[in-house]
């Protein structure tokens, strides 16, 4: 059973409050998305959980061990990639991976092969890291953080510098390695990524934890909105005005926003009243709207 407890943690760096009394608990099996604007304190929070920095106030417990005092006891349980990948540029991928394994001594060759295959780094294992592209470095950095099969995986902007194919591979790999005993924390600016793989979202803003919710409570199909563009040359639009929210109008063109529950009823009204449907779009990232709303507050 893996558990992370962050208890009233504050962090002051150069007299500036970076984190203010943050508290939450993460249990086994959860995939957490950590979101927030630049400078919200996301990386600082992740560094606290990985023992790279120490809290000014409060404590971080991993499996009931205070990592401020006894990080090494739980070091093998944690794998992380924070900010840029940490790689020895004069070594090739194999030597980098071997070093990472030696630093944790949980050597499992099958798992090593599985990770290399999942991230498609087999083709450049013998090439020196200094000759890698940023995308290749990112893949290898992720491999290094996962190679000892940790129960807590912390990835800060894991899809940075990756192409679409790379992003898909990371997403698939995260889903693959996730099991009931693992905790995965992902920080990302790409909210659609968080929506797709995370089951809980923590929102940081200005050093405060402003929201903590289950992803499916916000990102459910029932919460989806539809933007319908219609053409109404007469007064037919009046039939809809009271039923749907008109977000834009230009001469005879109107854009209305309806939720899923009302969609069929509104479509009926449009057709019955002789209006023309020009376009229908599903408004995708409800997390994005939720996040922006919180950010504004």
């Amino acid at each position: 059973m893996t558990k992370i407890q962050v208890k009233n943690v504050s962090k002051i760096i150069r007299k500036k409050d970076i984190l203010k009394e943050i508290s939450f608990t993460i249990s086994s099996g959860e995939i957490i998305g950590l979101i927030g604007p630049n400078g919200a304190g996301k990386s600082t929070l992740l560094k606290l959980i990985t023992g790279l920095i120490k809290p000014s106030l409060g404590e971080v417990l991993v499996n009931d061990t205070n990592i401020q005092n006894e990080f090494n006891k739980v070091a093998n349980e944690i794998g992380f990639l924070i900010e840029e990948p940490s790689l020895y540029d004069r070594l090739n991928a194999i030597d980098n991976l071997k070093l990472c394994l030696k630093l944790h001594s949980k050597i499992d060759n099958k798992y090593l092969q599985y990770i290399c295959k999942g991230l498609e780094i087999n083709n450049f294992l013998n090439k020196k890291v200094k000759n890698y592209s940023m995308g290749m470095k990112q893949r290898l950095g992720i491999a290094c953080s996962l190679i000892h099969n940790p129960n807590i995986i912390i990835l800060d902007e894991p899809t940075n510098s990756l192409d679409i194919n790379g992003i898909r591979q990371i997403r698939d790999l995260i889903r693959d390695i996730h099991d009931d005993n693992k905790i995965i924390i992902i920080s990302s600016h790409i909210l659609s990524e968080i929506e797709e793989i995370c089951d809980r979202v923590l929102v940081l803003n200005n050093g405060l934890l402003v929201d903590d919710f289950k992803n499916d409570s916000i990102i459910s199909k029932d919460n989806a909105f539809y933007i319908i563009q219609i053409e109404s040359k007469g007064k037919e639009i009046d039939f809809i005005k009271n039923k749907a929210y008109i977000i834009d109008s230009d001469n005879s063109q109107y854009k209305i926003k309806v939720n899923k529950a009302e969609l069929n009823m509104i479509l009926d009204l449009i057709v019955k009243n002789g209006m023309t449907i020009v376009d229908i779009k599903v408004e995708n990232s409800t997390l994005e709207r939720h996040f922006i709303g919180r950010g504004d507050n």
């Binding site: 760096i13 090494n72 990472c100 030696k102």
Partner: protein
Amino acid sequence: MIEYIKLETYKIFKNKQWIAPLITLILFFGLSFYLNTQHPKENQHFFTYYYYIYAINNEIMFPISICIFFSSIYLNEYKLSTIKLLLGSKFERKYIFLGKFISGSIIIFLIFLILTIIYMLLAIVFFTGLDEAAIGLTIINVPTLFGRMVIGFISNMFYLLSIASFVVLLIGFIKKQSIAVLTSLGIIIIYFFIPLPDMVDEYIFLNGRFTYDALTLETLPLDRFIYPIGVSLVTILIFLGLGLLKFDKEEIL
């Protein structure tokens, strides 16, 4: 600790960080060999070849090499941000900090040992035989000569490692290699020009650079070696202790 030292040594070899000190030390050893051959033939002896290694290089050349090597072992981790890997590993911070120093010391010791042996073999090739006349100091016989060389080598290693520990302490505060190296060298140079009372001078690790002088004395005063070794050792422990305190509180912001 041993596990980490092995890992760190492997890392230094794989990263080829040993090449820079090896090349610079080959140049410095070569320079002292060359300068010795420039003396009139009657002043050249097997022993003076050994003496010249230190007489030429001990004040600036060797410290430069040592400062660059040790600072790169530590600062490379920050430059590549691989320090995050180390701090996130199963190894305690004290093992990481001390393990790096010990690994660096082992490598420097090996480089010095190998170069000294090659250098002395070349000196033998230059001078046929190792009789007392060839040694140059009639009072010293061959076994004593080797004894002196070993003592000289060991005391000088301690002196150089005390400089290394000073650099390691400095880079806890200054994370730029050039500034750390120049500051260390600056302090060494300032020490040359500031006359200190003997009482104080005896307790300063930089004084260890003169130990090799005692090699030429007719009777070898052991305290001339043991005392500087003691001072160097205490200095190393103090600097590493302070460096460790700083490293233990280090945060990767």
